[in-house]
Symmetry: C2
Subunit: 185 residues, 2 copies
DNA sequence: AACCATACGGAACAACGTTCCGTTTACCAA
DNA sequence: TTGGTAAACGGAACGTTGTTCCGTATGGTT
């Protein structure tokens, strides 16, 4: 009983995703709605019909990469190496994802209601993965017990904000943070 | 040859600082200009005449505390303890300052042109202090050589964004980061 | 071909930062 | 005390955004 969407609607959704992806690359995830609409050759109303909030649009554009990140977690844990190494490798993936998306890390930490959904989606999808990795590392006695997976994710996300400054290497700092997680036996 | 300012101008500047301080506490440093103006009982034009950019207003409100932070650096280094301890203590002060100011850490990392001045002021005043502490810790062989003072400041500032989330303890994470700075001899 | 639910476009509204200029006022000199 | 003037003020007005709403167009179906 799912009434199939009209052809023009499906076409527009597709067009919008492409236009948004391009606009995000060119001007960051905070690019004005009107710009995306113009790029796609549609009215702003059409954007809001398909993607009620900006977060929905962002999630739609990056869903594939987020999924890939989520699926990499268990794989890394199953592969060779210590649990801490798996955790570090996974965080590297996450950082790579974030620093290549202008303004995404900033949006992720914004308390703007518009981005609650975005925050929520990232957490829902990736937090369990991070939990599992942390848990394994904790059991192996490789990381501190007093830092939660949630804090690690937020911290890493925060450190990724404002990349693009040549004097600031987010990857390196995340490395320092992850190093700091190790138990100083 | 400095023509003294008019009495009403000086009075208004004072009133504005108080109103802004109150508004910052109540609604964060991004509180609408009109609100500050209303609170102070002046027109918006008056705000812009005294403080051309929001950053100027923010700096004016917090100048004292920033100075205190800057002056604490050398003092901590002169006191007992290792250089790394002094660095950690100083960073604690900085974190305490940031997490108690709604939205300040976020503003600090914003690439909005309005906040360039703010970023600049913090850097100009505090970066040399951090440099000195880091230098001492490096000479004592207590911290990694590949992380700059600038990166530490930015990283700490970033980690302080979005405090107020009960699941996220910025102080703890900064502690992890600072711990990660230690050389793993 | 005709009908209608779906979808579209963009004008219109609200919130904000910022500018600008007619009006008021503090200061000084006569 | 009383003008005169430069300084300062207030808030209307403008530009830029996000968001809503409704008259219009159109794809699908009968």
């Amino acid at each position: 009983m799912v009434p199939r969407k009209r052809a023009d609607a499906r076409r527009n959704e597709e067009t919008l995703l492409e236009a948004a992806a391009a606009a995000f690359v060119a001007s960051g995830v905070n690019v004005p709605v009107r710009e995306i609409a113009a790029q796609a050759g549609v009215g702003v109303g059409t954007i809001y019909r398909h993607f009620p909030t900006r977060a929905d649009l962002v999630v739609a554009v990056y869903r594939h990469q987020i999924e890939a990140c989520a699926e990499a977690g268990p794989a890394l844990l199953a592969g060779g190496g210590t649990a801490h190494q798996a955790l570090a490798a996974w965080i590297d993936m996450f950082v790579d994802f974030l620093v290549t998306k202008h303004g995404l890390a900033e949006a992720l930490q914004s308390d703007d209601a518009t981005f609650q959904t975005l925050h929520g989606y990232f957490l829902e999808r990736l937090l369990p993965v991070c939990e599992r990795l942390m848990e394994a590392a904790r059991e192996a006695g490789e990381v501190r017990e007093d830092v939660s997976a949630y804090e690690v994710m937020r911290g890493v996300g925060n450190l990724c904000a404002g990349a693009g400054d040549s004097r600031y290497d987010a990857r390196r700092l995340v490395g320092v943070l992850v190093g700091g997680l190790r138990v100083s036996a």
